[in-house]
Every structure is written in structure tokens, then in C-alpha cells.
């Protein structure tokens, strides 16, 4: 192939977005966000091991609007990365790699992420209220 005929990397300014590419970059973004967000888990555990004052600090932070927003982002990222990660594991077995299956799998992941996030927050809020 002459070098002029080689396919180029997408130029983002004129690139038509597709479900598959958006989900791919979201998988990465959510993975990076989760890496940072999981520090919250460590903070929570250390506070629980340290005593009531430290634990109250975590609870106050997580109960504030910014804490709740972070927690919501964390659950959304987790469920997305989890569902799409399973999609990746299926691909690793050599299955569902054709174009049609990548779209079907992609929409299943989007739906499952929405349902799981909703269920988790409804359950959490119900638990909080009771």
C-alpha cells in the first residue's frame, strides 16, 4: 500500500461519533475515575479504624452534596466499567466481535448500567429513610 492510501487516525474535529467509540473512551475515563475514587474506600476504612471523630469526618463529607455527587459518579463509573468490562471479557474469548454484536452489546451495557445505578440508589435512599 502506498503511504498516501493508508488510513489515518481519526481527526476528532471532523470525526462522526459512534456508540462503539464513545463507550470505548468512557471505559478508560471511568477506569481512571475509579482509581481516584477508590481512595475514598481507603479513607473510609482508615477512619473506621481510627475512631469516632475521624469516622464522623468521613460521614459528614460523604453526606454533603459534593460527597453525594462523588458517590453517585463513583457508582455510575463502577457499574459502567463493570458491565463494559464483562463485554471486554466476552471479546477476549473471541466472541461477539462483529459490528452488529458490538452495537447490541453496547446498548445492553448502557441499559444495565442505568438499571444497576438506579437500583443501587433507590435501595440506598430507601435504607437511609427507614
Amino acid at each position: 500500500m502506498r503511504s498516501a492510501d493508508r488510513p489515518l487516525s481519526p481527526h476528532l474535529q471532523i470525526y462522526r461519533w459512534q456508540l462503539t467509540s464513545v463507550l470505548s473512551i468512557l471505559h478508560r475515563a471511568c477506569g481512571v475515575a475509579l482509581s481516584a475514587g477508590t481512595i475514598l474506600l481507603v479513607w473510609w476504612l482508615i477512619a473506621a479504624a481510627s475512631g469516632p471523630e475521624a469516622y464522623e469526618g468521613v460521614q459528614d463529607f460523604l453526606g454533603s452534596w459534593i460527597g453525594l455527587l462523588l458517590l453517585f459518579g463513583w457508582t455510575l463509573s463502577l457499574f459502567y466499567h463493570l458491565c463494559n468490562g464483562i463485554r471486554h471479557l466476552v471479546w477476549d474469548t473471541g466472541h461477539a466481535l462483529d459490528l452488529g454484536s458490538t452495537y447490541i452489546g453496547g446498548w445492553i451495557v448502557v441499559g444495565a448500567t442505568a438499571v444497576l445505578t438506579l437500583v443501587a440508589w433507590v435501595a440506598g435512599i430507601a435504607h437511609w429513610v427507614s
Partner: protein, 131 residues
């Protein structure tokens, strides 16, 4: 190891690919991913049941054998998986060699540090060294 068996006979004979360690990295990322499917679902369900709980309730829960064991496993799998994933992101986007190498080292050390901190917290609660 499993990973060495996943190489083709030719690949094994030639020895090393361009990255020298790709198969092990790829394999570890998948194994930790599989472990994290049940562990993270269990963790989210547990946190939901602990919403609004006071510190005594949380300490009692962390101190139970099953939650303590699963939390330690979750911490190991999470930070191992995170350091492998972040390494790929860094290697894709950071081109100057020294910066790339430095960031990978920093991510590895931080992941290890956070994992140890979390595991220590779980064990100190479970083994009763906190008041």
C-alpha cells in the same frame, strides 16, 4: 505460570516480544477483572446496607470473618487492577520516556501504598486493636 503457556511455541522460542512483558500484564488484568465482578457487586450491596450506620456497626461488620476477608481481597484486586490499567493509559498518552517511566513508577507505588493502608485498616479492626 498460565501466562507462559499462553505464548505460541514460536513466541516462546524467540523469547520476548517488543514490550518484553505484555502477556503477563494482559493476563493479570483479566484475572483481577474476573475477581472484581463478584467482589465489587458484594461491596456495593454491603455499603447500601450500611448507609447511615454508626462507627460501632461498621466496625462490627468489618470485623466479621467474611467481610474482612472479602475486603482484603477487594483491596488487593482493585489496586492491582488499577495500577495495570493506569499503566496502559500512561503508556498510550505520555510520550517522553522519562515522564512515562516516572509516572508508571509513581502509580505503582501509590497503588501499593493505598492497598497496604486499606488492608492495615481492615486488619486492625478485625483483630481488635482499635478501641
Amino acid at each position: 505460570m498460565m501466562a507462559s503457556r499462553m505464548r505460541s511455541p514460536l513466541g516462546r522460542a524467540i523469547g520476548l516480544g517488543s514490550a518484553k512483558e505484555g502477556v503477563e500484564h494482559w493476563w493479570a488484568q483479566r484475572v483481577t477483572a474476573i475477581a472484581l465482578v463478584p467482589l465489587s457487586l458484594w461491596f456495593v450491596a454491603s455499603v447500601i446496607s450500611l448507609v447511615g450506620a454508626d462507627i460501632e456497626t461498621v466496625q462490627n461488620w468489618v470485623g466479621l470473618p467474611l467481610p474482612a476477608i472479602l475486603l482484603v481481597l477487594l483491596l488487593i484486586a482493585t489496586f492491582y487492577h488499577a495500577s495495570l490499567g493506569l499503566q496502559v493509559v500512561i503508556e498510550d498518552y505520555v510520550h517522553p520516556e522519562l515522564a512515562r517511566l516516572g509516572l508508571v513508577v509513581v502509580v505503582r507505588l501509590l497503588s501499593f501504598g493505598f492497598a497496604v493502608a486499606g488492608i492495615f485498616a481492615v486488619l486492625s479492626i478485625a483483630l481488635g486493636s482499635t478501641s
